[in-house]
């Protein structure tokens, strides 16, 4: 009994585990107010199509993103996380994204170390003028998560779906 449960959980990171029919990935998008959020707005206003699987949270700056937010998202509902901010040098607060970049690297490596696929957590720089790039990034991230399937590893048991 115990062994089978464990095998299921582990194989969640392997693509052969079939997703339930009609399953749609849930991606948590944490976007900085000044660049990426405006960029996603531009994507919408210019009527560019992108996958609707992303749930967007607006934060003041990418350096506002505590690694805790990413862990909490993965533990509760999200199958993947996308954090996006201004390009280096373009930060509204001058240096915020440089601090964020250091944190993202360590977070990504640690999550991979404990057994989550590296595509589960993605980071991007999207400026307010790059509406097309935002659509591409979301499509790429959604495609990768769709290939990986639903995330069961370390998931809270009482997941409401």
């Amino acid at each position: 009994m115990e062994a089978t449960v464990k095998d299921q959980v582990v194989s969640a990171e392997k693509p052969q585990l079939e997703a339930p029919p009609g399953w749609q990935p849930v991606i948590m998008g944490i976007l900085c107010n000044w660049c990426s959020y405006a960029g996603s707005d531009l994507t919408g206003t210019s009527r560019t199509q992108y996958p609707p699987n992303i749930r967007i949270i607006r934060v003041p700056c990418s350096s506002r993103v505590d690694p805790w937010f990413i862990i909490k998202s993965l533990q509760t509902t999200a199958d993947g996380v996308l954090v996006s901010g201004c390009h280096p040098g373009d930060c509204h607060y001058i240096t915020g994204n440089y601090y964020a970049r250091r944190r993202f690297l360590v977070t990504k490596k640690l999550l991979n170390f404990v057994g989550l696929h590296e595509d589960r957590v993605q980071f991007s720089w999207v400026s307010a003028a790059e509406g097309a790039k935002f659509a591409q990034v979301v499509a790429k991230v959604t495609g990768a998560i769709r290939k990986l399937g639903p995330l069961h590893l370390y998931k809270k048991e009482n997941r409401s779906q």
Partner: protein, 283 residues
């Protein structure tokens, strides 16, 4: 490595001169195990103090508690402890005038099995980086070595690593001893204890341990000094050093060889940046 007599003399001198209110050192227990912390407040009671290679605990942890916080404290520090103390001083948790630091040029402590501890074999700084007086002969800074356990785990594939860490997180009983024993975890209210968090909602599940330990280790990334107080305190004997060493390794490799607490007024790796930090993982 036996500085018992010197430490007794120093403690008696400081207490009789009324330079400190309490001296924190180590005392022997009735059993053959690691020495426990001792709080000495009277010059006649210094006979309890000992210091040998079994004095493994990091005493700077006790500076964050209320009963020592606003007192003048004398304490014994080894190399790694002094790095933690350096960070506490930098982060304004301790006043330098309030503490008298007896530094030990450390030759390594032993683990529960009586062998030299792993963090001592991989130690980068055995000498105290901050001290008022020093016992023993300093041997200088050593080269950084990657942790062998972390290296071994990276050679396994993703599924094996997730299986390994699932067992680790499964064994966690969420007692938070790791957090309480860490000298750098001094927040009055911890984010992982928030009302909506899993501590109250999910009790000790694999998921809640994942949430707590991962958040904890990432909040200590770039600040952890590898004293292994958390591992000594853990009742489930979890390999907590793996998470910290993994972070430390990434930081050392990519961020100009940063090591926590080596220099006074040097904050953690996440409090500074470099324009040439790695960018290739970003879309």
């Amino acid at each position: 490595m036996d500085y018992t007599n010197q430490i007794r003399e120093i403690a008696a001198r400081l207490l009789s001169e009324n330079r400190i209110d309490v001296f924190i050192g180590y005392r022997k227990t009735g059993f053959d195990e690691n020495h426990l912390p001792a709080f000495i407040t009277h010059p006649n009671a210094t006979g309890d103090l000992v210091f040998t290679e079994k004095s493994g605990f990091n005493l700077t942890n006790y500076l964050k508690f209320e009963h020592t916080r606003n007192k003048r404290v004398g304490l014994v520090v080894k190399g790694c402890d002094s790095r933690a103390l350096n960070l506490m001083l930098t982060e304004n948790q301790v006043k330098r005038d309030h503490i008298y630091i007896v530094g030990i040029a450390c030759e390594g402590v032993v683990n529960e099995q009586g062998e030299k501890a792993q963090n001592c074999l991989e130690c980068v700084m055995p000498d105290p980086v901050v001290h008022d007086e020093i016992l023993g002969v300093p041997s200088g800074k050593r080269d950084y070595q990657a942790n062998s356990d972390v290296k071994e785990l990276w050679q396994k594939d993703l599924a094996e690593r997730s299986r390994f860490f699932e067992e680790v997180f499964e064994s966690c009983i969420r007692c938070n001893a790791c957090r309480h024993s860490c000298p750098l975890c001094y927040c009055a209210k911890c984010c992982i204890d928030q009302e909506t968090s899993t501590l109250y909602h999910g009790a000790n599940t694999t998921s809640s341990a994942f949430h707590a330990l991962m958040t904890w280790s990432l909040h200590l990334a770039g600040r952890c000094v590898d004293c292994r107080n958390c591992e000594k305190a853990c009742p489930s004997h979890l390999p907590l050093h793996l998470l910290h060493k993994q972070n430390e390794q990434v930081i050392h490799e990519h961020f100009q060889g940063h090591l926590a607490g080596m220099v006074a007024q040097d904050r953690g790796a996440f409090y500074k940046y470099n324009l040439n930090d790695p960018d290739d993982f970003i879309l």
